[in-house]
């Protein structure tokens, strides 16, 4: 059986890389290429040198950030630029993440990522129409039970989804999709201007960080208000990230129960951001602060 050009390209590119590379992006690329060979329908096996190098390559490549991938996917789907640009990029990045997580035994993380990515694509089928050729080709190079197969199947199903939505009677009964699926985490960043202001003075005015996400100081406390939540419990993860390296330096998790649709999370006193920067050992201006919001039973 002839090797598919996609896998042939992976084999050739692996030949250009070194198993002992110390370059982070090259290590990740090597993992992706080996993962693509493993997930081939005919189970291609790369040179044993690569198999022995996998644990070290994973260490060099560093941890993954599925929440950031989903946020990028949601943003690219909402945009109206050419789908062959950042939208196709992030779908390939998610595919990469899925093949590597399957290969490294992180199937549960991959399973969740695939499901959430599928849900997002299903909300904007018209955005992925032009990627159908790629999806079809990619499907022919992966096993039907693989995670990446699920992702590209959703892309390939876009014309049918659009057609189904246009059928008589469908429009009246179909629910209006939320901006993001309820199960997808919502991600917001504190803007640079806000961090600079917080570094200068903790006396912050109210800021909208994203759709239904507000940050403000009240009663000496720094609070995040989350609107339009399903009544119950909401999980908020605060991450302080190195602006240069994208490493997560500090993480704080908050869970708040709320009978109504508004959840208010107290991050700490009014100098909470400064304190996080001190703990990270960095000036506040050198950090990105990310908030990841999800329903507590999703996490």
């Amino acid at each position: 059986m002839a090797t598919h050009p996609w896998h042939q390209a992976a084999l050739e590119e692996l030949g250009e890389l070194r198993p002992d590379t110390e370059v982070q992006d090259e290590a990740w690329r090597a993992l992706v290429l080996v993962g693509r060979l493993f997930s081939a329908p005919q189970s291609l096996v790369p040179d044993p040198t690569w198999l022995r190098a996998l644990p070290r390559l994973q260490q060099v490549a560093g941890p993954s950030d599925p929440a950031s991938l989903l946020d990028r996917l949601a943003s690219a789907l909402e945009a109206d630029d050419d789908p062959s640009g950042p939208l196709h990029d992030v779908l390939i990045d998610i595919d990469d993440e899925l093949v590597v997580s399957t290969m490294s035994g992180g199937a549960s993380i991959g399973d969740e990522l695939a499901a959430r990515a599928q849900a997002l694509v299903a909300l904007w089928p018209e955005r992925v129409l032009t990627l159908a050729d790629f999806a079809e080709a990619r499907l022919s190079t992966s096993r039907p039970d693989s995670l990446e197969h699920r992702l590209w199947t959703e892309v390939l199903a876009a014309p049918a989804a659009i057609l189904a939505a246009a059928l008589p009677g469908t429009a009246a009964t179909a629910p209006v999709p939320a901006r993001r699926p309820a199960s997808a985490p919502q991600v917001a960043y504190l803007p640079d201007t806000l961090l600079r202001a917080a570094a200068a003075s903790p006396d912050l005015s109210e800021h909208q960080l994203g759709e239904g996400v507000w940050l403000y100081v009240s009663g000496g406390e720094l609070r995040v208000e989350l609107a339009d939540r399903s009544p119950g419990a909401t999980h908020l993860l605060l991450q302080a990230i190195d602006r240069d390296g994208d490493d997560v330096l500090i993480e704080r998790a908050f869970v708040v129960e709320h009978p109504g649709t508004t959840a208010t999370v107290v991050l700490g006193d009014e100098a909470a951001l400064e304190r996080i920067a001190e703990e990270a050992g960095r000036p506040l201006g050198s950090l990105k602060i990310r908030l990841v919001v999800s329903a507590a039973d999703d996490s």
């Binding site: 050009p5 996609w6 390209a9 590119e13 370059v23 982070q24 992006d25 990740w28 690329r29 490549a61 560093g62 943003s75 909402e78 945009a79 109206d80 630029d81 050419d82 789908p83 062959s84 640009g85 950042p86 196709h88 990029d89 390939i92 990045d93 129409l129 032009t130 990627l131 159908a132 050729d133 790629f134 080709a137 990619r138 803007p191 640079d192 201007t193 909208q208 602006r243 240069d244 390296g245 994208d246 490493d247």
Partner: protein, 172 residues
């Protein structure tokens, strides 16, 4: 059959598209456009604030020029003409010279396309809009997954996407 490279390539069309490309790519620090365009990134964004662009609008995921003052819109569009447009045309020229070019599938109701990667890692999507005339549809820098943020890191990241996207099309 792959379409031949067009005789002419026009710039991004439309005020909204130009505005959004400048604000979402050139003004934001993530893509490090200061490596491509002098005084890009935070400095360019601060200049936009000074000309009347509200930070809240500039920080939106998909900033809309209709939410901005005329002075702001004109400032951003000037940044497109003076900085972004020469950058993406330069990237096309360099990418063609270095053969960093791949065919993209045709878009429904529109023509086939190409992805070109410039020396500094600017990725440009070009699509045929008439028989032999194309337009730039998007221009951006692929942000490396790892810590590297040198121009060659951006170029490596962009070239990998070029390989992956065009591999099923048989290259170009």
């Amino acid at each position: 059959m792959k379409a031949p490279w067009p005789d002419g390539v026009g710039p991004l069309r439309g005020e909204r598209s130009r505005f959004q490309h400048v604000v979402k790519h050139v003004y934001r620090p993530r893509e490090r456009w200061e490596q491509v365009v002098e005084r890009a990134g935070v400095l360019a964004r601060e200049a936009a604030w000074a000309s009347g662009c509200a930070p809240a609008v500039l920080d939106r995921p998909h900033p809309d020029p209709t939410d901005c003052t005329d002075a702001c819109v004109q400032h951003v569009l000037r940044d497109h003409d003076l900085h972004l447009q020469p950058a993406y045309f330069g990237a096309i020229e360099a990418g063609l010279a270095a053969d960093r070019l791949g065919a993209l599938p045709a878009e429904t109701g529109r023509g086939p396309g190409w992805l070109v990667v410039g020396d500094l890692g600017v990725s440009v999507v070009v699509r045929l809009v008439k028989r032999t005339y194309a337009e730039v549809k998007t221009a951006y820098r692929v942000v490396p997954r790892g810590r590297g943020r040198r121009p060659e890191d951006f170029r490596y990241a962009a070239v990998l996407k070029l390989r992956d996207k065009s591999s099923f099309m048989g290259g170009d």
